[in-house]
Assembly symmetry: C2
Homo-oligomer: 553 residues x 2
Amino acid sequence: MVRCMKLGPVVRASGRALSTAAGRQQRRALAAETADQDQVTRKNFADVQRERKEQAKNSVLISCPSKINEKKFLKHLSRHGEVANHFFFDSHGVHALVEFVNTESIISLLSATKVPDNEDTCVLPFKSRFIKVKSQELDLHHVKCTPQTSVSINQLLKKLSGAKNIVDQAHIILDELQLTEESIRVRYLVSSLVSDIATAYFPEATVHLYGSSVNSFGKMGCDLDLFLNLDSLKDVSGKPASSFVTEYWMRQVSSGRVAQQKVLSVIGECIESFGPGCTEVHKILSARCPLVRFYHQSAGLHCDLTADNEIALRTSELLYIFGNIDSRVRPLVFTLRCWARVHGITSSVSGHWITNFSLTTMILFFLQKRNSPVIPTLDQLKNLAGKNDKRIIEDNDCTFVSDLSKIKPLENTEPLDTLLIEFMEFYGTFDFSKNCIDIRKGVEKNKPDSSPLYIQNPFEQSLNISKNVNKCQLERFVHLVQEGSWTLQKQASQPLEKGKEHWGLASILFPTDSDGLFRSKKRLDANRLGSILDSLKVSNNNRKTTTQKQTKH
Amino acid sequence: MVRCMKLGPVVRASGRALSTAAGRQQRRALAAETADQDQVTRKNFADVQRERKEQAKNSVLISCPSKINEKKFLKHLSRHGEVANHFFFDSHGVHALVEFVNTESIISLLSATKVPDNEDTCVLPFKSRFIKVKSQELDLHHVKCTPQTSVSINQLLKKLSGAKNIVDQAHIILDELQLTEESIRVRYLVSSLVSDIATAYFPEATVHLYGSSVNSFGKMGCDLDLFLNLDSLKDVSGKPASSFVTEYWMRQVSSGRVAQQKVLSVIGECIESFGPGCTEVHKILSARCPLVRFYHQSAGLHCDLTADNEIALRTSELLYIFGNIDSRVRPLVFTLRCWARVHGITSSVSGHWITNFSLTTMILFFLQKRNSPVIPTLDQLKNLAGKNDKRIIEDNDCTFVSDLSKIKPLENTEPLDTLLIEFMEFYGTFDFSKNCIDIRKGVEKNKPDSSPLYIQNPFEQSLNISKNVNKCQLERFVHLVQEGSWTLQKQASQPLEKGKEHWGLASILFPTDSDGLFRSKKRLDANRLGSILDSLKVSNNNRKTTTQKQTKH
């Protein structure tokens, strides 16, 4: 199976995506060798989005028999034009994502595609780029599927124990948990299919991915956050060429919120009634940010579609830039998120826990606060902004440079393990009672209110993104960073014992007495830990709520 | 104001549609002169539908200021291409229906049309061919609007009193109550706008008008019945060119009914949320024939949209053929429907009353039963059918000739007044206790069950279209035809008294003692009658229910 993919957010030195188990191993070896150089991209966020969207437009999702003959399948597809890429994955049955070189191939393929005419059942005749292939000519063996979830925790722990050092371990965590090339492609395709539904009524509307799918910090299995931008519609202008002006007759509503609710209601109804592969559709229109939630069964993705979420998209781009400014940022964030999840600092359900976004912002703030900073402040990024980068959204200044090449690398060269320990030291002694965290200025400020944890929203500056966190959760966090710092320092000072089961990062991935969650046992066996860490992969059961939604970027 | 219209179902000798009051008068004079020759068309049903749909596709609905300068308005529009037709009408504000010669003009006009950008309100940005025109350059006078409802009953009675004879009176009734050219155009445009909504998701779907809007028996203000045909979608075929077959991934449902419900639900949601000019949207999906009911305020039309109603469309064509075989059919049907409505034989609400469709079928049956028949039987029309006329719908043979020129005129030359009296004689002595009415064979048959009135459905032959009628209503009908026959014969035998207020047909358009509805007064004053007859025009308040729906063709 030949894959030759144009890479997006996660570009690797090899220039190839390798998603099989063997590929993973090779990639990791590569990552360790070239650590701190290869794990970032220099592509601008908008370019990545554009390329990925183009790829997705030229792609189809195909439900296949599990023993399909791959060679003949490709030959059949090539009747309609050159196939640029393809891979198989399993989600409630085997599926192929096939990208053609030209859009005409899609038109050709669909024109040769039939409406099912099973005598016994009726179909809802909604045509999309999600099709089924049937064939009598099957192979003996199942087709090889790329994984759509992370490796099991046992495998992860095994890999950690075989690593060279803590830095290597952090890269393993990143490599095993981050979105694969294939997962990214599936996400953009689902977005493109939703876009087809939306643009049927609103041809100028655009559907954007935001949040973890695109901010460079997404884990395998994370939710797909989409938003529908209808604002581009309003750009239609034209000087009146005569004393007559024509305007579309459009339904007027009392507020933008009502407009969003109505549009989402119709789109939700479509997805519910005939959205191919979509189940569990819920219209949550009375939420603060109205949304349609559904599960794309065939892609294995939980999706949230909102309307008008420009600031969230801008925040995603900001995180993307921070994630790609320096190669240490992403392994550091993935490692700390993994650690936080194990200890119940973050959670997939809403509540008083620290969110992933808050935790990431704390890490970024820490990196800005080094004596020699690892990353610039948001204000510095704003100062680098060109004319086209200017963006005011709902009176909030969301301006910052989008051209990554304009951001010069900073001088800090501290190794990853040092940064990890220093992060824990930093927040172990941080004066949360007085200070507020602000990545715009990169300096502590006096808290504007008495929230236990105050992290200023980088764009909506009067908002605290961690308003939900209570005193108890903050105290647990402080206690855990103090303990983590102590454990890691001890690990770092000890010589590496080959064969020792859990050393280095693995030692802080074990819940301790102080976690509250697990008071009864000093140590948990691997199975127990496994079940906890498994929840890192897909948060299918306890899905985040709308409140949390607001803070996902 | 120049109008030059291509005429559809109602083609008049002049080749022009004249819808103003003056026009009506001219047209009626014309009708009287050329009676029995000019009131029928020789265009086939399918051709009329096709032409009308094309017209509608090239048309836009424009909301205008009431004092718009017509000349400048047209000049403005002509920037986008040649205007083929236009007229103004008033329905919750002044509107223009403008037909362009070419579709490109519509595209050009819409590309110059803005999305409203009122700061104070939000709009649902759904673009359609319903637009608004704004202008500072207004005239002193209101623009001239074509009527969208019939004349008042007082005017009708006045016109009847001024007629030459009963035949002339019947033509006046036809002329005053039938759909005008403009009303037909508005109906096709609304259908076309609904089609735009439906084809956004189902590009091969077609929306058809059926029932009174197209069967040649429609009254001004009657409901607009539409159905969405999704079946054409299933025709996509193709021989498998390889051992692989591709099929669209489509949601499967347990029955065609569920599929209809889901499709109508989505379209209903769209119409409700942003259907321009649509109000009072109700999804009546649990009805036997699921439908979406709405009021197109700007067209002044109550609309019912169902899915898959092929037989109803076929029935509409059959009625259209009967209405256009002989010029006496339509004035006879309009006169008798008017009479029946006055006496409460038919009603706009569902119940035990005889429906318009049943009454029309009874009239057709009577015309087939004349010694020398006025119209052929359905079986005779079937025998004239060509290859392309063959139509089996849900196992029902719906075959009949569609080419009107193949139907040779029959020899009966009885005048309209004779037919009117003979109709009443016929049903005054008809043995309803034994016999069933069947326009397929054109002969009485034994009733298959004990329903008081049994009229066999011409296509679904096991069904009785007048199953709803109870004994009491049938007895009232028989009593009223007997009385009507007696009154009319008396009128026919008397010399015409010039200046006498209510003579001829007017004499049977007065409710009598026997009507039950009006026992207390021997005679009603004109105002009272007016209010009753007004209900003939638009049945806005007591709208027909779904049960009745089934029998509207």
